[in-house]
Symmetry: D2
Subunit: 343 residues, 4 copies
């Protein structure tokens, strides 16, 4: 199978498996009071600052729900892009598990701005309307675009200035930091994020994400809510060890950087082709395109990828840490040949 479908199709990094194996010695206290989780906290403080506390969880939807539940009062909602994972890919979990109303905003590129946030800043104090309580952005976005640190900081300041908290869905935070060539804290702590969902699985772990809490008053809520939201691992050492490995040295940056480079390679190879339109800038590890009618279906006979939007027939091509140059080149060649023959 040649995979351009999802970074979730990818294998796990060898370092992740080694970390699991290395953690498999002797009893360890369950639910996080173990050495691996303690060491993970040190790594997290290095990357996200001295106030950061990590709560390892199983998956990204879980990380988002746990984090957001800790940030919201029951009558508050979350301002987010209409394309946010929260809104389109969590199966109603925000609404059902958290009673969270999503105050969505259409965006051209998956990115909020203070001006777009303002469109949902209405009816403040009116008990008939869900009150905006959190602004949540995704970095890198679901459309493969990346916020600059300045863009994030502007949103964070805006949120705080209006009494809201700032949440970052960082399921692909590593991809964004690698793309921007900045440390993780530059697009988290330093831009005023209050809670970050930090993703490990898509970048190369077997399974492992973390809710990174950057406000002291939210650590106790997150502790209870992680358990209640069925995201507390009993043998947590095995998740923490993987995250520790990812955050040790530059593993996270190498893995994410490779995925990004493969997407860029693919994007550059097909960008000028007649009949193909790239719908978004290729800034992280995804390429979004609209192809001539029927082309996508033909390509899917040999390559795995998904339609992103049923109505516009836009497709999404994702790269991962284990995507090979030769697969990218073969895919680009197949695309080129196909659209050439259709032209």
């Amino acid at each position: 199978m040649r995979n351009f479908a999802s970074d979730n199709y990818a294998t796990a990094l060898p370092e992740a498996l080694e970390a699991i194996a290395a953690a498999n010695h002797g009893p360890a206290v369950s639910y996080g009071a173990d050495d691996w989780t303690a060491r993970l906290q040190e790594r997290v403080r290095e990357h996200f600052g001295a106030a950061a506390v990590a709560f390892p969880v199983f998956n990204g939807t879980g990380a988002n729900i746990v984090g957001l539940r800790s940030m919201l009062k029951p009558w508050q909602g979350v301002i987010c892009a209409a394309t946010a994972h929260l809104n389109v890919d969590e199966g109603g979990a925000p609404e059902v598990l958290g009673g969270i109303k999503l105050l969505t905003v259409p965006t051209p590129d998956g990115k909020l701005t203070p001006e777009l946030v303002d469109r949902r800043m209405v009816r403040i104090g009116d008990e008939h309307a869900s009150q905006p309580g959190v602004v949540s952005i995704t970095q890198s976005t679901e459309l493969g675009t990346v916020y600059t640190p300045a863009e994030m900081a502007a949103i964070g300041e805006h949120a705080h200035a209006h009494g809201m908290l700032f949440h970052v869905d960082g399921s692909r935070l590593a991809n964004a930091a690698a793309s921007l060539d900045v440390p993780l804290r530059a697009i988290a702590t330093d831009v005023g994020a209050d809670v970050v969902s930090f993703g490990g699985t898509k970048v190369g772990l077997v399974a492992g994400e973390a809710v990174i809490v950057l406000r002291d008053d939210l650590t106790d809520p997150v502790r209870y809510l992680r358990k209640q939201t069925v995201q507390l691992a009993s043998k947590m050492r095995f998740i923490s060890a993987q995250l520790e490995a990812l955050l040790t040295g530059d593993l996270w940056r190498r893995a994410a950087g490779h995925a990004n480079a493969m997407a860029r390679r693919l994007g550059e190879a097909v960008e000028g082709l007649d009949g193909i339109r790239l719908t978004q800038a290729v800034q992280a590890n995804g390429v979004f395109a609209i192809l001539p009618e029927g082309a996508a279906e033909r390509l899917q006979e040999d390559f795995h990828f998904y339609f992103w939007e049923e109505h516009t027939r836009e497709v999404r091509w994702m790269c991962a840490w284990d995507t090979r140059e030769e697969d990218v080149d073969a895919f680009a060649a197949a695309i080129s040949q196909l659209v050439g023959s259709l032209a």
Copy 2:
């Protein structure tokens, strides 16, 4: 550390790690449409019958909530023992994530009976009262006791006869089957269970449980609810591969049987001692006891274990697949010596 605190403190079986490593080759479709999950279905059908469908999930609380949500209408509740994990160890997840009212019944030994179920079969059809919709039992129980197949079948029949469904929290189902020396289906499918939470983590996996659905009309609900209840693993092959290993050959029975044997060894060693009262029959991998005042705290200086009940000062000693005979013997000796010195 000498662990009698929890089977969650235990390491993972080498076979679990090998299965993860073996699954780490090439891309695989995410979210369960992979070869490992397909093979797991075959194993599950061997163990639970041709109608069984497995939905791998992350943890036991998640398995319970997903399963029960699929079985209940919003105005129905779950009849369960007051000591059920659901009621005392899930941090309010049933109530918050599922809006599930637990219709609890005190029991002497953690086991329901049809007669005990009847105590909550009241006000049927009265819209002011939560209607009993499911009977949920734990096998083996939170108190280390085990239902016989006949006892389970009686409850299953009773539930069905009154229009309820039958749920088995089998976080330690392997321990129960090993204790009874019966196949898994003998305490699941064959006793009329509709949905089973089958536990893998406590018996030796890194992480992995499965919602085993035994009624065709519940598979589609469970599919949606697993995602919505944040229990859908993206790289599912790594969970499925572990469960597949556990259910291949007699690994599950060997692992659980050893844990049971260690608990029995410990129970037998301390049973007659002056000042010690075992509060429950030792039928699975746990020993419950009340010690002379102050004794538990002294023992905790050298051995890890928990108080089970704050008011009665009852303690719980758990054994796992990796508990060693010498640790049991050392613990028994320490107990014996201590209570001898206090007598």
Copy 3:
């Protein structure tokens, strides 16, 4: 106070008070097993057909939540206009009380069409996406527009053809029927509605709405859900008696028709004025307009009304059963004079 703010500012119809007084004799079984509620069922069958069952409730938000909860599985959402009361005026009740995801669609006039519904009919069968389960429309709409029976029937058919149910938020159903000069069933039962929130309060009751269930399989769910959603009145006779009065003779039509006529009168009086733009057709009891800058605030010194949309400065003027011609004329004169002076 001269009220153009809301039909909820209005008094109650004398007939409503008389009905309450007439019901106040002797004991009556609580929670609906009383003579008044029985007679209401007869009236409801006359107006909505032989299969209709009414469940009296306290208010419109409650009616909507009870009805929708009965129609949805936990992984399903509701396709509705972005301007739906459900989405903008229920304080997050759908999401919090029902875990309901709203699949909203922007509309020019508050009205859905089959084509607009199709915009949210995507990713069917994909467990990551909330599945469309219900189409909900408001008749008359929040923007004072009215669906024709044919428009409603087209939506109802479309919903059913795609396995969805059809819900009508009829908080102002009487206004719509009066506007169209049709019987109530012509915009409920006859267009395929499965559940209707039928409003009594805005049209002239002290308090009283009803969930009208038109599918037999939903009556039992609604019975339980009305209680659970805190909408079951203990002394129900007093709500039922009001609804009975409203549905006896043509009281509902007279009351709603007067409110509509007053809105039409107001709309016609101001329509041609320089600087005023009516943003919606005046088809029920509301007028929506954009005024010259500052004009609305000046008018609010003497007349009660609300801004409808903060960003566009659109205002809403509502009429009620007790709105007087002279108040309409005075308001129209004041508007005319003010915009004339600003021109």
Copy 4:
């Protein structure tokens, strides 16, 4: 019909209907910004102290859910008697609408004590266990018993000393105050209650309860939660006017006192009879009894009342503000004659 079934079967006080009629003049701002609600606040401050703020709602279950939701974090539960209305008569509303876990305690007489509260004060700080956040008592209780002010104060102090809040379900608070011959504040404000559900309907209104908030930091949450929990009346003046009437002069005390007196009269008349056992002290407006086998069913042919407990065959006889002495005497005579004939 001779009603001993429920105080909800009773008529409304003439003063309630007069208040509704008197409020029916001219437009009034909806949702509570009206003169009647403003005057109600004055009455409430007179009765409950200067800090009290009333939020009128539709019914008692609604009042409880709104109040408790404002008092709890999502991981906290409510310690209450197993017989609490919350637990047995709210159709799962606490669990479903509020995600509230009820930490129930069996009681002999429906009354908690600090010692009984302590039975659920376990595992504090343990994220696996719902944390006790509120103690809720019912005054007068569901079993017709009444807490003394000292008993209430002891519970309130205990709750506060352990970081919990104190909630009073006062659906029949008037009956308790009348029974004790104390002002309302003596069993609310003065005993440390934080939030009180104050009942108007059972004591004689058409419909009307109030969430009385006694802590400043909860008024804003209750404001939002009342709307979100579908308990915000649009034409609120009609509820407020009734509550205002009830709290003006001694109407509430006369109405409740009469109901209490009728229950006492009934209790005294049957107390000594052979074969009858009163199971609870008659302190408010209910009488609880166990009759000879078959007697209750025979009595139900002529008098309306309910079984309270299916298993023990205990019956409940309720009196209301409009219960007549002659009906009590006739009922007592019928009981006496019947049990005499069975003896």
